[in-house]
Amino acid sequence: MSIFIDENICNGCKGLAEARCERICPGDLCYRKENMKAAIRDQSACWTCAACVKECPVQAIELRLPFQACSNGASLKARLKHDKTIWTVWYADGHQEEFIIQAKCLKGDR
């Protein structure tokens, strides 16, 4: 598995012509199913670039590694704020780590 989409959280980006993950995936892998939930068409074609993870406004998408690369479950989510990105990493044992990283300099700093 490369990404996991939690259908309980995904709201399908209702009202938009495309779901945000569908719009952004550089490999054109995400799409919206008939039930208006996002899905990935081919896990084996995923680069694990996390573009969809970052774009999802409700954090329904987790980044995971394919089992062959790491057999223990861990996952990663991101939230984009105006000028920073907040990452949460869940370790195999359940504990988590958070990172808040600057991602854009504001007008006055440029």
Binding site: C25, P26, D28, S44, W47, W90, A92, A103, R110
Partner: protein, 558 residues
């Protein structure tokens, strides 16, 4: 099937680092010029920068000069580079970086305001959003952005490139874009060789898996001269997730050690008189250590402090979040255990190595009306992202000057029909060869006969001749490819492009009868470097009428 026709002054193919920068540049220099970007994915997160970036590795710090930069690159590539191109890039690096900083890219600074030095030619950035920032700058210009339109071929009248064809995967529409000038900026080629990770992790690779060499292939198909494909790139990366080792080695000063804990690099470059380890020797040494039974090899991260470790994770989240996930999955931190490293499959790229269009200083290709920038442009290795921006700046200046007395070409309807039929033909077949089968066959041939991972990258004439023969047969099967939907059709088109690139690559590998780059091009039958014969560029020109690839040599000084 509907056709959308668009006329523009300049068409940019590929909305990546070079393509986005080019669009912004054109608007600055000539606000009235019309620009179209044809982009396979969505410019906000496409291509090499989709994951982000944590460092800019081509930058001139105080104490360095464009001359010292050129001499560094020349050493790294064992005497073969286009000094004129690299010099032009070096002169523009800092200004280009400053321009992108103004777009909003955060760069690590010292208290006195200068950029913090990460390595000798490197600065640390917080580039998780570098691509969206570039896209935002483009979106502020009137440029027309065609997202999800896959370029399929140039429109070429035998004299001049007058636009390009594309296929829109969202609207199942065929695009005919006429332009006075075309800037090709599509990136390099992955997926030519069998990748490190098989099966469901096949795209867990270093290079963007959707950069498949389309820009090269389109140029090859109209007879544009290509250079140095034999200078393949094989990256030394963190095993399994292919995170960049520079972040650890340069950013955190970790040493390469073998399974016995020995620092093994020196014995691979000291004897050849070097006091600095070339990028390729870091890889060569790792392969040799492993062959000698002293692997696996690692980057020794156990000496990091707790704050270094946190900083390292932050840097990776900005560029390669998978490695943070790998550590989390293993329930470990880099301070507990060294990070295992290995070589990737070979790639054809012009940003780390120098495969690409043969160009002049102004970024003219050998075909009129066509200009190259970034990864598809050859002869200027180690340009990376900042060098790609400089090339985009140069190419746009040339194109703008050039189109002053050029008008749009006439395109015969029959040419449009022929291309449309070619592009769509896989959709109309019920049975045949799937794109997956085609790709796997290509990757197997290249892996086994043209020096892939399973052969420890080595090549020699007999195997390469077999690769040549098998690729010719494979090309004949292209007509049997099938596709069940648009996504699948793009995969099929990718196979066509990869095969064209692979065939040219094999000819280049056959032609250079010496070992110039010990890891990237190791010839078993010609293991020595021969300066008296081979200090030349190996170039190729494909003839679409005869399906032959003609090899030519060009002198070092241009």
């Amino acid at each position: 099937m509907s056709i959308i026709r668009i006329d523009t002054d300049i068409l940019i193919i590929g909305g990546g680092a070079a393509g986005c920068f080019a669009a912004v540049e054109i608007h600055k220099k000539s606000p009235d010029s019309k620009v179209v970007i044809m982009e396979k994915a969505h410019i906000e997160r496409s291509g090499c920068l989709a994951m982000g970036l944590n460092a800019i590795n081509a930058y001139i710090h105080s104490g360095q000069t464009p001359e010292s930069y050129v001499s560094y690159v020349e050493k790294q590539f064992v005497g073969i580079i286009r000094k004129d191109l690299v010099y032009g890039i070096a002169q523009g690096l800092n200004e280009a970086v400053r321009d992108v900083e103004k777009m909003g890219l955060p760069i690590d600074r010292n208290d006195d305001g200068t950029y913090k030095k990460r390595g000798k030619r490197s600065i640390r950035i917080f580039g998780e959003r570098l691509k969206p920032l570039l896209a935002e700058a483009v979106q502020k210009t009137p440029a027309q952005i065609l997202n999800r339109v896959v370029a399929t071929n140039f429109i070429y009248d035998g004299e001049r490139v007058c636009g390009a064809f594309g296929y829109g995967v969202r609207n199942s529409t065929f695009y005919v874009v006429r332009a006075k000038a075309v800037i090709v900026a599509t990136g390099g080629a992955s997926g030519i060789y069998k990748p490190n990770n098989p099966g469901v992790a096949r795209h867990l690779m270093w290079y963007c898996p959707w950069n498949v060499g389309t820009g090269y292939a389109m140029g090859i198909r109209i007879g544009a001269e290509m250079t140095s494909f034999e200078n393949r790139f094989i990256a030394l990366r963190v095993k399994d997730v292919h995170a960049p080792t520079g972040t650890i080695a340069v950013g955190a000063h970790s040493k390469q050690i073998n399974a016995r804990g020995e620092d093994y690099l020196e014995r691979y470059y000291k004897h050849i008189g070097g006091n600095k380890c070339l990028t390729q020797h870091r890889l060569l040494a790792t392969i040799e250590e492993t062959k000698a039974g002293r692997g696996p090899c690692y980057l020794d991260t156990t000496t990091l402090s707790e704050s270094d470790e946190r900083r390292l994770k932050e840097d990776f989240l900005n560029m390669n979040p998978q490695i943070v996930l790998l550590w989390a999955g293993k329930g470990m931190n880099p301070r507990n255990k060294p990070v295992e490293i290995h070589g990737t499959e070979p790639f054809v790229v012009g940003g780390h190595c120098q495969a690409g269009y043969w160009i002049d200083k102004e970024r003219n290709t050998t075909v009129k009306g066509l200009y190259a920038a970034g990864e598809v442009a050859g002869g200027a290795p180690k340009k990376y992202v900042s060098g790609s921006w400089v090339e985009a700046r140069i190419a746009t200046a040339t194109a703008l000057e050039d189109i002053k007395d050029v008008s749009l070409g006439d395109i015969d309807d029959s040419i449009i029909q022929i291309e449309k039929n070619r592009v769509l033909s896989p959709l109309n077949k019920k049975s045949g060869v799937s794109p997956l089968e085609m790709r796997e066959r290509l990757q197997k041939i290249m892996d086994e006969y043209a020096g892939g991972i399973s052969m420890n990258y080595v090549i020699h004439e007999e195997r390469l001749l077999e690769a040549r023969r098998l690729l010719k047969c494979l090309k004949e099967r292209i007509k049997d490819m099938t596709a069940v939907n648009n996504y699948n059709l793009v995969e099929a088109l990718e196979c066509v492009d990869r095969i064209d690139v692979a065939r040219v690559l094999v000819e280049h590998l056959i032609y250079r009868k010496e070992t110039r780059w010990s890891c990237y091009q190791p010839r078993l039958d010609y293991p020595e470097k021969k300066d008296e014969r081979w200090l030349v560029f190996v170039n190729s020109i494909y003839n679409p009428d005869t399906d032959e690839i003609k090899m030519v040599e060009r002198p070092l000084c241009q």
